[in-house]
């Protein structure tokens, strides 16, 4: 990423809901900052600026994925900070928050610093998330203050949720000293136990152990109650069921400090994708039913859900070309989030501005990081989306090191064509 002379994005449609803007405009970027946003053709400015015609495209604040597994340190054969951010950039993301369940886990400032060091020269900003508990074991608090000093933006025991409600309460209280949001992977591990897919007629038919939706909802309820009790915000990760949505909605109606996200697969697929024992449809929480999908779409539209995050979870064939019950949970998602979310815009579930809120404005707000707007003077993290460009998502096109996507082979419509991080172009297919 060499320093540029400046970039002039011409003739695009600027969609910047944070500033209430949706109009045709040119954007001038210099020294990593947005210098001006002006009517098309009116900007003369820097004659050296690289002029890029983005007619027909949307120019939006850089997309931020607040739930990503980069696998480094420890499982570099699945993904690295470099390969993962390259996939992010190709998918239109200018920043990612990386979950701490690496090996070693990110439970201390040494690991946080190592991640941030490796992120220099990466294709997107990397915001480390630290663990709630030491070693992610759910027993004692991790050194949250030290990790904050080293650069974490949130804490979470994603993938290995905190069962001990007292510990969760203490984490909420203590994180308040450091102004860190707590991201909850809400799951009652006693109830989900050895389940591998959504529980219902289909799990019975396939002979696969089920995970009842109550396993998620019980803990969503607990985490909301603890947020209300402590007055500290929780962010519910990957909400997947209708009743989780209802719980979040009623908490928000009361003014409780709760935000929430879902992932594109929870509004794009149902449990039916598991048929044929497709391990690329195995994730946690599991894919649910049509009814749940409908609720999630509604919740994205009405603001119950604040964020779309991918839960990008790379796994190699070692973990996926195996018996369903022993296959690893999770799918890659960075490169398919934009077209899958655009499907909802095309379906009329929400509009373009809402899409930008879900993928950029709100994650920036929740994590309290830069970005989320195209204001003059703000950092030049910008994503240019061509909503009409179609492509077939085939294995050779996957940028991520792992290829575990249930969307392989699908014809997708709409994609990022240019990604700019701090004024540097990190991805372009123009």
């Amino acid at each position: 990423m060499a320093a540029t002379q400046g970039i002039l994005l011409k003739n695009g449609r600027i969609i910047d809901p944070a500033n209430g803007i949706d109009m045709a405009a040119d954007v001038l970027i210099e020294n990593g900052k947005i210098v001006s946003v002006t009517e098309p053709g009116k900007l003369s400015g820097n004659a050296n600026a690289q002029q890029i015609d983005v007619a027909g495209c949307w120019v939006v604040p850089g997309l931020i994925d607040m739930h990503v597994h980069l696998r480094e340190p420890g499982e570099e054969y699945k993904e690295t900070i470099l390969s993962g951010t390259r996939a992010a950039s190709a998918g239109g993301f200018t920043a990612v928050a990386c979950m701490p369940n690496t090996d070693p886990v990110n439970d201390c400032s040494v690991v946080t610093r190592m991640i941030l060091e490796k992120s220099h020269g990466a294709y997107a900003r990397v915001y480390p998330v630290g663990t709630i508990s030491k070693s992610g074991k759910g027993e004692a608090l991790a050194e949250i203050g030290d990790m904050k000093s080293a650069g974490i933006v949130a804490i979470s025991d994603d993938g290995r949720p905190v069962s001990d409600s007292q510990l969760m309460r203490r984490a909420l209280e203590y994180s308040g000293n450091f102004d860190l949001p707590v991201i909850c992977h809400s799951e009652d591990m006693y109830l989900s136990r050895t389940g591998v897919m959504n529980e219902g007629a289909l799990s019975t038919k396939l002979g696969l152990k089920g995970i009842p939706s109550a396993a998620e909802e019980i803990m969503v309820y607990r985490d909301i109650k603890l947020a209300e009790y402590t007055g500290r915000p929780v962010h519910i990760a990957h909400a997947s069921t209708r009743e989780s949505i209802n719980l979040i909605r009623s908490a928000k109606e009361k003014g409780s400090p709760v935000t929430a996200e879902t992932a594109p697969h929870y509004f794009s697929l149902t449990e039916k994708a598991v048929e044929g024992y497709n391990t690329n449809a195995k994730m946690n929480p599991p894919l649910r039913t049509e009814e749940d999908v409908a609720s999630i779409k509604e919740a994205l539209a009405d603001g119950t859900l604040d964020v779309i995050a991918t839960d990008h979870a790379p796994h190699s064939t070692l973990e996926k070309e195996v018996e369903f019950d022993v296959a690893a949970n999770g799918i890659i998602g960075l490169e398919t989030a934009v077209p899958l979310t655009l499907n909802l815009v095309r379906e009329g579930v929400f509009d373009e501005a809402k899409m930008v809120e879900l993928l950029s404005v709100n994650p920036a707000k929740i994590l309290k990081v830069d970005g989320g707007s195209i204001s003059e003077g703000s950092i030049a993290d910008i994503t240019v989306i061509n909503p009409e460009k179609e492509f077939q998502y085939t294995i050779d096109k996957v940028v991520s090191k792992s290829k575990n996507s249930p969307f392989l082979g699908r014809q997708l419509k709409g994609m990022a064509v240019l990604t700019i991080v701090g004024g540097d172009i990190t991805f372009s297919s123009l």
Binding site: S203, T204, K205, L206, L208, G210, P212, V322
Partner: protein, 310 residues
Amino acid sequence: MKTEYKFDHKHILGIAQLSYDDIEYILHTAESFKEISSRSIKKVPTLRGKTIINLFFEPSTRTRLSFEIAAKRMSADTFNISASTSSAVKGETLVDTAKNLQAMNPDVIIIRHSSSGAPTLLTDHIYTSIINAGDGTHEHPSQGLLDLMTVKEKKGKIEGLKVSIIGDIGHSRVAHSNIIGFSKMGAHVSVSGPATFMPVGIDKLGAKVCDSMQEAISDADVVMPLRIQKERQKDPLIPSFREYASHFGITENMFELAKPDAMVMHPGPINRGVELTPEIADGARSVILDQVANGVAVRMALLYLVIGNS
């Protein structure tokens, strides 16, 4: 049977994939093979030169032996591999094992595995015909077919009969195959047992779920208690086997509720005194050993039919 009917399955993964006509045809074929086993020279040359591999990842005596006898009575060469899933964890994956076997060019691989869907995984990666000899809690199609054959043989029909399956429905691949198979052939299937044994949505597979054992067994033509899988009792599903026997076991009193000519079946091996009293297991209305005999015939039919299609 329609004249244009053709059996066109290369694999037998479950009864769910078989149509009514397929099942009729398999039973018909099995009936014609049954006689071979009663000859003094129990061998026909039908599958001479064919290679059949028994790939068993779970211990099994009777199913494996039944497949082996079926293959040998048709002159096929059989090979048994007893693998354990724990050794697979150490090194070779299931897909690798299957690819290695395929390289030796067998005609059929018969697989038993503790993971539901393991046979399906093989069909995604190799072209050899696969017969599922039981996968996890999914299906055990040859057992389901031999049960259908036995009922048809003894009752002269399947349609309209009341079949009661009792016990650990959730962990039983036999129950799953039977619920699908008997429903498909027009029988009315009732299931009962501890509610902790009833999987969510089992009614969608065609079974009527009865809270009361009496309701499930009343006027039944066929009563099939399932084996309580002692090794699978990690979840707190029942308080004790003693309590199970007294509330859900098939005793003389319980069996009286069924039709006077009702028969009792069991997929074996039996926990005598738990799900079934010895008196009933050995009684005049037990067809348990007929099931075993028909198992060989059904497996001969399956081998013959899939090899014909591969």
